[in-house]
Symmetry: C2
Subunit: 411 residues, 2 copies
């Protein structure tokens, strides 16, 4: 009994049969005594179709009109789901971003949610109607249609759950049945987690695990919305809860590491023997940042005879652009030369448990060394350790670490 927000992605509503299944599941949740608000994505393929149409008109497309056009996908699916629920004999009402209203800033196609006026929705839910909300979309202060960026429906759901103070936000996934210790496609005995903390999930999400959008998890953490990742295919399965870190999580002796994530979209650049002086780091990273390149790891070696080596990673997709900018910087700073490599992977161990335990790093380095895998960069935070290795060792490294920390299913 409570107020539950459910979110269904595009593949879960890709045709009328699937929409009917979703409607039945929503009705079931309602009949269990809950108030239910549902957030839907566009029918699978629809957003791509609309974007393609726009690109034929204008490339890059005008962002204001792109948002008007792409948001129609969720408009249709929300109407169809609401109608299907009604056809099952239950009250339902669809709402678009401009109706609720979901107010965003005016950064078209990547808008940020500013405010949600939830009072009307609360009334409607209290009166017993199911509410179906078109995900992905909002309106700015002038009433222009905006969208939240790809995968934005997760964010819509979390934000609505926060605004309504919902008891949980269930994110239904078609392709996974929860959050795993690592990619099950790579490690066959990867184990589904029952629970994971927001912090861990954030590290997993931003480090390349694609189940949940990092922005949605951040939002959930900020407003303490309990997330429940559940498989559409097995609605009675427990899935994975993403919640506030609690005593149990950080003190259970045997849970040092929650998961292992990896990110192949990485490239590294080294500026060798750059004269070391105050402000050198700013001189290097300001031009990169100004060009919209997100620098991830940064490692600076100790200064020898007034010179230092600075190594950093960038998304592989920005590699060429980064090289060009870095070459200019190197010339200006009088560095010796530039080294670069785009055949690397970042592997990360994530776990709130490691905060209170030493030895995690040692175990990691030993395990990799035993397999002859060279570590090129290391970076640590309170709840993660990341190592950059050669890309070709990715699978071997993930499996080795998964075994070393005994993360797998018991056999």
């Amino acid at each position: 009994m409570g107020l539950i927000v459910q979110k269904y992605g595009g593949t879960s509503v890709s045709n009328l049969d699937k929409i009917k299944w979703v409607a039945e599941h929503v009705v079931k949740t309602k009949e269990q005594g809950n108030q239910v608000l549902v957030v839907v994505s566009a029918m699978a393929g629809e957003t791509d179709r609309l974007v393609k149409l726009c690109l034929q008109v204008m490339d890059p497309p005008d962002e204001r009109e792109l948002d008007v056009i792409t948001s129609s996908g969720e408009q249709v699916s929300s109407g169809l789901l609401s109608m299907t629920i009604k056809s099952l004999g239950h009250e339902a009402l669809s709402f678009q971003g401009h109706q609720i209203r979901i107010i965003t800033n005016n950064a078209h196609s990547k808008a940020k949610i500013v405010r949600i006026d939830a009072e009307r929705i609360k009334d409607i839910l209290a009166k017993g109607s199911i509410v179906v909300v078109a995900g992905f979309q909002g309106v700015d202060h002038d009433g222009n249609v905006t969208t939240l960026g790809r995968g934005g429906s997760d964010l819509s759901a979390v934000a609505l759950a926060a605004a309504l103070d919902a008891d949980s936000c269930e994110l239904y996934k078609d392709d996974v049945d929860g959050i795993y210790t690592t990619d099950p496609a790579m490690v066959p005995n990867a184990r589904k987690l029952d629970k994971i903390s927001y912090e861990e999930m954030l590290e997993m999400a931003s480090l390349g695990s694609k189940v949940l959008q990092a922005r949605a998890v951040e939002f959930a953490k900020k407003f303490e919305v309990p997330l429940h990742v559940r498989p559409t295919s097995k609605p009675d399965s427990e899935g994975t809860w993403v919640v506030e870190e609690n005593e149990e999580m950080s003190h259970m002796e045997n849970i040092l590491i929650s998961g292992i994530s990896f990110d192949k979209n990485q490239a590294k650049i080294t500026i060798a023997q750059v004269p070391d002086s105050p402000g050198v780091a700013a001189n290097i990273f300001t031009p990169l940042g100004d060009s919209g390149i997100v620098v991830d790891m940064i490692v600076q070696n100790i200064s020898i005879e007034g010179h230092t080596d600075m190594t950093f990673t960038v998304p592989r997709t920005d590699f060429k652009k980064s090289i060009i900018i870095t070459e200019e910087i190197a010339k200006k700073l009088g560095a010796k030369n530039i080294l670069s490599d785009d055949k690397i992977t970042k592997i990360s161990l994530v776990g709130v448990g490691m905060k209170t335990h030493s030895g995690v790093a040692t175990t990691m380095f030993k395990a990799l060394a035993k397999e002859g895998i060279n570590i090129m960069m290391i970076s640590t935070s309170e709840i993660k350790i990341s190592c950059v290795i050669e890309e070709k060792y990715t699978e071997l490294a993930v499996r080795t670490l998964h075994d070393a920390f005994e993360l797998g299913e018991e056999k």
Copy 2:
């Protein structure tokens, strides 16, 4: 120079090439020094596709959700047209019903426009931007999406032209190049009219001429919006103006009749020898009206020995339903029997000129009689004369009357 509203139907924006043509034409109008607001329908076939989808979910579909879903068609086409205009280097902004706002009552799928808040649009036009408005849609007082019924985009255009006090409202048609004296498919030398009055157009529209929706013409008449029906295929052609009746129209000796319309969607029913007493007409037509049947012509013969014959016409699509209801009424009123015929056509002569001329009816009856066409019912108003004839004579009657009133192109 002025403020021009242009409306393009679904076939005019059925693909990106056609949208580009429309965009270029809009830009041309703008470059001639005008402020331009464009109203678009959904891309041809899109509304049908969406309605079909809804019917698979629920039949009849929930009307609130149907409006949410079908209005997405105009949302997409308005965005695409606006983007295309921008790609040509001109400023353009799309607007949906909820943004302008076009306020309607809450009669979903056949909503009536209550008010348009045109101030923001006026500002935007004054600043030099082209405005593209999604036709067909509005919002009710609670912000629910509504639609105006099939062909509603004509009405959107006329209402916006009225709200903006536009200099003209151009309705672009793909299939016709203006209003004709009668259907050119039936009468090869039918003549395109340069001008027609609202009143005449209303009679033509409601009598079966399908070029303009009667509601749009009524609205134009009420707010004195000059309508300009123009062919998309020949944008430089003069088309037909639909305007306020003026001196010139009603006094030019040789324009008695503007056009001939015909309506085959007609059926007639006679209640024979019904006892004639006060209230008998009400007793007959109240139950029909209550069942949503629109009775058109009514003819009552003079009463003989306390009994009268009452004949009326109904839409052929409501024929069977009307028969059933009429049989019950006949029984109740003690009428002798019922006669019916659904193989009839109503032919009408329309013209403001006939107000000040006698002899139109005589010419009509003589011309029909000469061809052996029997007149079954007659009904007249200030600017029209309608006759019901056997359906099989439709084409012959239209051509005969077209010749009799010398409406054709000069040879």
